[in-house]
Symmetry: C2
Subunit: 502 residues, 2 copies
Amino acid sequence: MVPQSTESRLFELKELDRKIHRLAAIKATLEWDQETNLPPHGVEERSEQLALLEGMIHDLQTSPQLGPLTLDLSEATIVSDEDRALVRLHRREFERASKLPKDLVERLARLTGVAQPLWAQARRENDFKKFSPSLAQLVDLAREKAELLGYQDHPYDALLDQYEPETTSAEVKAVFDGLQPGLADLARRIAARPQVPNAFLSRSFPRVSQEALARKVATDLGFDWNAGRLDVTTHPFCTTLGPRDVRITTRYDESFFNMAFYGVIHETGHALYEQGIDPRFGTTILGTGTSLGIHESQSRFWENFIGRSRPFIDRYFPSFQKAYPESLGDVDAESFYRGVNLVEPSFVRVEADEVTYSLHIILRFRLEMALLDGSLKSDDVPSAWNALFTELFGITPPSDTLGCLQDVHWAMGGLGYFPTYALGNLYAAQFFDALKKSIPDWSSLVSRGEFAPLLAWLRHNIHRHGRVYTAGELCRQVTGQALDPDFFLDYLNQKFGAIYAL
Amino acid sequence: MVPQSTESRLFELKELDRKIHRLAAIKATLEWDQETNLPPHGVEERSEQLALLEGMIHDLQTSPQLGPLTLDLSEATIVSDEDRALVRLHRREFERASKLPKDLVERLARLTGVAQPLWAQARRENDFKKFSPSLAQLVDLAREKAELLGYQDHPYDALLDQYEPETTSAEVKAVFDGLQPGLADLARRIAARPQVPNAFLSRSFPRVSQEALARKVATDLGFDWNAGRLDVTTHPFCTTLGPRDVRITTRYDESFFNMAFYGVIHETGHALYEQGIDPRFGTTILGTGTSLGIHESQSRFWENFIGRSRPFIDRYFPSFQKAYPESLGDVDAESFYRGVNLVEPSFVRVEADEVTYSLHIILRFRLEMALLDGSLKSDDVPSAWNALFTELFGITPPSDTLGCLQDVHWAMGGLGYFPTYALGNLYAAQFFDALKKSIPDWSSLVSRGEFAPLLAWLRHNIHRHGRVYTAGELCRQVTGQALDPDFFLDYLNQKFGAIYAL
């Protein structure tokens, strides 16, 4: 047999790659439809359809054809960054998929199927004991999975790597250790100051105008409606159904302004990333965001760094007032700006402000590490949660429902996921710093609603690359250095120092 | 090798069957999404996704595994009607798919891809010459296809069989020959009478109330909203995305009442058939309507035989008047009934009434037969169309746009499709006759909006069987005899004899 040339191997790999990612996009379409349109009795058969596609994708990812294509291809013989990334990522996927026996995948699926309703019941009834045995099993399985996947220092690395490839728990720990004291200190200093009022955000905001404002701001930021849509779901998300088909969703709360408006900006941030990837990478392994942390940096950038900035409020507040004269007639732009930036320790992560949000993540990261290395037992999670919460926030959760039972992630088998949220904040701050150096007049551009130069900068530096570079590589490339929590702390201190006159 | 038992072969066949039909349902979901939700720039990639699924389905349908499973299974050894049908239908599909070389399928796809825009242009510009060469090629390819598929008497049989399995062109011709004189005679007698007024149907009908009425009538007829939806598309259709997920669409015309109201009843008729199939047949080759003619009988039954009946109008007219007091305040139920039943020769098939509709089909059937046996050339279609139209309707199309260019079917490669529309009317009439014998008080039930007994009759006699019986078998089973056009003629003569006082 004539040995295959690098070129012909790459060609074959790309064929297979396209097929895998076309099937994945089809699966995403069925999932989107499930959240937006599926009639209730269609759910059962839809699960079967998804399982069929899942199986086909898994078969392709572990096909005997793919092994030699990726394992034997020497990266040294490949010229372009993108082809090297293609091989690297497929090798990862192939090794990953090959290391996980079908039996484990099925056991995990069965366990999360059982754990989720138990978690929901436990949360509803504020009864952690109902969920504790499931959590113990989930941790055992996660550890088993980590052992199969392999890791260098800590089993957590293997789990984190699924969401934040090539980032280790030691790196995350170092970053969080640098972040925590500054956050806690800032939160304490803010707590000592008079609170800003924000009750006006919970007045009456009929849905029709909310949707018009949400569509307007998505359009202004650069969302391409010819290559995307906005729909309504219980839990907002952004999903990619094809290289030119990126869909976001939201929910409307008629007595809380922030829900849809900032929710849509957040999802638009994710969508702009996906819509901005080089079209050549569409329907390939390279055609999505490079890590969840980087993805979250894009949603947080628009939601918080821009959407909660003073020039942004200057630009949009008149249209809010026009849409809701009765609810916002007695509010001015400055009060509105302060209102959407209120900082205060709170029990629920998803409702947290920019300062305290990452503390919620640090807490979860620490408990997950302890669960995985066996130093924390499932039954002891509530007391550990409450003790650490009190230490970090100065308040104690009144119930497990508002404490360790608030998030669905563990019940879904998602140990290792949480850090990506905080990494998103940190990457966003570091990117924002670089952007401000490139675009010194960013503030006046934003106050005029001219977002195109900002988007162009993100597109050029981040979006277009898709998965060609890892999060770490991208960060160094764009900002000249590794991830450093000080960018985020500096940003917070400056912004909230002014708001709270610290 | 131990020969496989019938039982184990059937088991294996059913596994494969489920996979094929699960993929087909996934494809239907992507197609539904394309018509309802797909952003414009997503179209290109969606075509690739559909082609991928199409190829996978074709590969499974012609897989070396399927041949022996179906060809060697002796139907005599199979106990149940449904397993026999399963084998029969798979054998059909396997032979069909195996007989058509990929090359022909691709040539046909390419040709229709080119022909459709040319047809659209020719229709727009009333210039048949622009479409004529494509039509000639389409006829050639249809003939080639027919030769490959094989037939006994006429190449048309092979084409018709795709849409109306096990029905021959000779049978259709015999039925149409029995139908045509009676229809033409009735249309002539009506034309000699004073016309009924129906201008009020083209007054103002704002969309919101139209949608409410449409949803109400679909609900009343028995549409299961837990297993289906109603959405808006340019061209209305009904599609099955899973055994408990049947979706219909409509369009709203604010200056024509019938468009959405009768359109939704029509699609609901299709949907009730699909929703009524035995759940055991879901996601199998048996889990859909047995032929397009039988499917159309269900839509026409509810749209015309029930929806345009006097007791139905008695039931619904008050709600129409309440929804549109300005447009219908000066109309009464009797005038409304006559208005929605106006008969008059017209040029456009899709706008035709119950009497003249089937004449449009007979005309197309005759021309298609002549095109296929070579006695009619593509270039001569306009003159042949106009001559036959004048003979059948007594009026001559003023343009090819309103004549031989009005339908997209030929440009889509759909020669052989048209007869199923008229067969639908005939089957509906024959089923209606049987139903009336079973449910003598159908009329008072309808006037009280009690459709459940009618639906139960259809479910028991037709819907639940899915594809277990052919159209011909079903007709004999339900009505005791083969399809006979006299049922339809009797129905029309009675109904329109009264309306037009013949």
